[in-house]
């Protein structure tokens, strides 16, 4: 553990509490810090996922500006935590993401094109293949927390010890009742769940210190009798280590260990809340600069470089591969076509007759007036 009081002093929103950290701002291993046991191949794969996340994010923002996708929630600066937490999952573990956790979803098995589909207005990205243990993104704040806890509880009740459940949410979510209800149940029923609070310090325009008088978000777990850890969310190795340990504990707790954990991953929202948001209205860029110097992509690159793993040649190969994958994903997402009948599908396991009649009515209207009649701008 390393106390990093500098960050708190810098912008005065964080308390002077320990945060788990392994890498310094240049990617050197801090004295006394213990690196997670990851092979060279795993480290390089994690780095490639980070580069992919960064390029995806840049590209998505640009696609939104061009009108090719709708509102997008950028993850710039948060990719390190997203990638590392999902890398720490076993394949059978489940993930409950929010609308910002694009990289977390992808690393746990969702295709890149499925991340883009909902942004183009199609449900395809919510129809997740059966072999991928990811729930569709949660948009109402904190609602996933009791549900993730419930799924984990269900696995425990059914004796399915191979599954832990990871639940993402932000700092703002800790103000909602669902956060407290979910954590309380997790403690009472000792369920195999890992709560990951991505504290990016801004809930749209509301700063972390306006959410709670508590010094940290991690300490909220204490009231529910569950363990918590604060981790430098811009340090992928520290996040990985903390998460891996929480997943182990969820599934195979020691004699005096509880299963649930709250991880407060301290990050910073480098950019806007979404492409519809303009942060210059409510904050200056000073704090962001401090965090930008600790950019997770650069830090992991620095670490790999120090270990002699990241040659220029390898960087070039990674960049080219990432660009191609993103390009292919965009092509796939843009090839999806609207099928109005889809509106009526999957409302119930079996379509009620009343809904069938409504579907017939829409078909008749399309036949009679053509699809152009439905694309008139309502305004």
């Amino acid at each position: 553990m390393n106390a990093q009081s500098e960050v708190y002093e810098h912008h005065g929103t964080e308390s002077d509490r320990d945060r788990l950290q392994i890498l310094d701002e240049d990617g050197n291993v801090l004295p006394g810090a213990e690196e997670p046991s990851l092979s060279d191949e795993e480290l390089l794969a994690m780095y490639e996922a980070l580069v992919l996340a960064r390029r995806f994010d840049e590209r998505a923002i640009s696609l939104q500006r061009q009108g090719r996708i709708a509102t997008y929630a950028p993850m710039t600066g948060q990719e390190g935590s997203q990638v590392a937490t999902s890398y720490a999952l076993d394949e059978d573990d489940w993930l409950f993401p929010t609308y910002r956790d694009h990289a977390a979803k992808h690393v746990h098995g969702m295709s890149l094109s499925s991340l883009l589909a909902p942004l183009r207005g199609y449900r395809d990205g919510y129809s997740i293949p059966d072999d991928v243990n990811v729930m569709p993104e949660y948009i109402p704040i904190a609602t996933q927390i009791p549900q993730a806890m419930g799924m984990a509880w269900g696995f425990k009740l059914q004796g399915q010890t191979d599954h832990a459940v990871m639940c993402h949410f932000g700092d703002g979510a800790t103000s909602e009742g669902d956060f407290h209800e979910g954590l309380n149940f997790a403690g009472v029923f000792d369920v195999p769940v890992v709560f990951v609070c991505n504290n990016n310090q801004w809930a749209i325009s509301t700063p972390r210190e306006r959410q709670t008088k508590s010094e940290t978000l991690a300490e909220k777990a204490h009231a529910y009798g569950i363990e918590s850890v604060r981790v430098d969310g811009l340090d992928p190795l520290a996040v990985y280590r903390a998460t891996r340990e929480a997943i182990r504990k969820a599934k195979r707790p020691g004699p005096n260990e509880g299963r649930p954990t709250l991880i407060e991953s301290v990050q910073y929202r480098f950019g806007a809340h979404t492409t519809s948001d303009d942060p210059s209205v409510y904050r200056d860029g000073e704090a962001a600069e401090w965090y930008r110097k600790r950019d997770p992509v650069d830090r992991l690159a620095g670490y790999l470089d120090g270990r002699g793993l990241l040659t220029d040649e390898r960087e070039t190969v990674i960049e080219a591969r990432v660009e191609k994958r993103i390009e292919t994903a965009i092509e796939e997402a843009e090839a999806i076509e609207a099928e109005p009948d889809d509106i009526f599908e999957h409302v119930y396991a079996e379509m009620p007759e009343r809904l069938e009649r409504q579907r017939e009515r829409l078909r008749d209207l399309r036949e009679k007036y053509g699809d152009d009649a439905f694309s008139e701008v309502l305004e």
Binding site: A70, P118, G121, S205, S276, V347, E379
Partner: protein, 360 residues
């Protein structure tokens, strides 16, 4: 019950339009080439908040991102600068907290105007609204009212993410003790909001975000009320009465103009107030035309269309010459935006149903 707040209010009222010179109004009324009086619907909401906050010091605005940020739709733009952080309050991210706190503020003698960022996020506060705000007056035998407004943008058509396009006004209209209103014009937005803030009972104020910036209209700078509970006839006609509200008023009027070219004369009634319903205007219009239709973007089943149709049956059955048609959203979740135009009533769908009603 006399309170400090009442005393302050009396002083403010005695002083006329408000304390001191009105220096902040220009910032709120963003003027443009259309002239200083022409506001969009969302600007009119902001203007209504401004003029009531100026008139009555007990009026406070609270919610997520309403202060420094001026609201995600800029509905509270410049209010923070004009009134300060104690009257334009950025809250933690907690809808039940916002509405529950507003009930408490109202009980203390204040006039809170809470903002829920999108209707799709109101549900944590549903308990506070339906278990408490709505029935505080009845369960305290009239001692405590809850003079509170809960504003929320609602409805589809803006290519928003999931949970940002719902139209669930029926949930609230179903609850005795709540009033539910929605404007379809900038002038009504200010007038209805003013009346809602001054009303002694809790009002759910639904803002049709599709038409937040669709057009401008003259909105007087001085405060004025559009009474709650009164519908507006937007177009007089003799062949069929169409009842609608919010963002659906415009496609309904477009369909009515198209039908006029076919010789069908539609009367378009903008209900404005969904609870209490203006049954007099509804029934009067129907008696004139003998044919009726309802347009709403909410799902069909259990929607307010059913309430309006039944009210007509109860009051004017013998005038009825055709089945009353409902042109509504479908009984399915509103789809992600690639398909939302198929879900929402469009002029073509409205046009088709009205012609069938008239030709029945």
């Amino acid at each position: 019950m006399s309170s400090y707040a009442d005393t302050v209010r009396e002083h403010v009222e005695a002083a006329g339009e408000g304390p001191g010179p009105d220096t902040g109004h220009d910032a709120v009324r963003e003027t443009d080439a259309d002239g200083p009086e022409a506001l969009t619907l969302v600007e009119a909401v902001c203007d209504g908040l401004y003029s009531e906050m100026r008139r009555d010091e007990d009026v406070v605005v609270l919610g997520e991102d309403v202060g420094k940020n001026g609201g995600v739709f800029r509905a509270t733009d410049a209010l923070y600068e004009a009134f300060g952080e104690d009257r334009v309050i950025d809250t933690p991210l907690a809808e039940s907290g916002i509405v529950g706190a507003s009930i408490g503020l109202a009980l203390s003698g204040m006039r809170p105007v809470a903002e829920i960022q999108f209707m799709g996020f109101v549900y944590p506060a549903f308990d506070q609204l339906v278990s408490h705000a709505s029935r505080m007056r009845s369960r305290t035998g009239g001692r405590h009212g809850v003079p509170m407004v809960v504003r929320m943008p609602y409805g589809g058509g803006i290519r928003a993410p999931e949970h940002h396009s719902e139209s669930k006004e029926a949930f609230f209209a179903h609850e005795p003790g709540l009033k539910v209103v929605t404007p379809s014009t900038p002038a009504d937005a200010k007038g209805l909001l003013t009346a809602a803030i001054r009303d002694p009972d809790p009002v759910v104020f639904l803002e049709p975000k599709l038409i937040y910036r669709a057009f401008r209209e003259t909105v007087p700078e001085q405060p004025y009320e559009v009474p709650l509970g009164e519908a507006a006839v937007r177009r007089e006609g003799t062949d069929v009465s169409v009842f609608t509200w919010g963002a659906m008023t415009r496609p309904t009027l477009i369909a009515a103009e198209e039908l006029a070219e076919e010789g069908i004369d539609c009367e378009v009634v903008d209900l404005r107030s969904l609870s209490p319903l203006d049954a007099d205007t509804i029934v009067e219009s129907f008696r004139k035309t003998g044919r009726g239709a309802i347009v709403h973007e909410a799902p069909k089943t259990g929607g307010l269309g059913a309430e309006i149709a039944t009210t007509i049956q109860e009051e004017a059955l013998l005038y009825q010459e055709a089945p009353i048609r409902r042109i509504t959203g479908y009984d399915a979740p509103i789809p992600l935006h690639a398909l939302e135009d198929y879900y929402l009533p469009q002029a073509a769908r409205i046009h088709d149903a009205l012609r069938e009603t008239v030709e029945f």
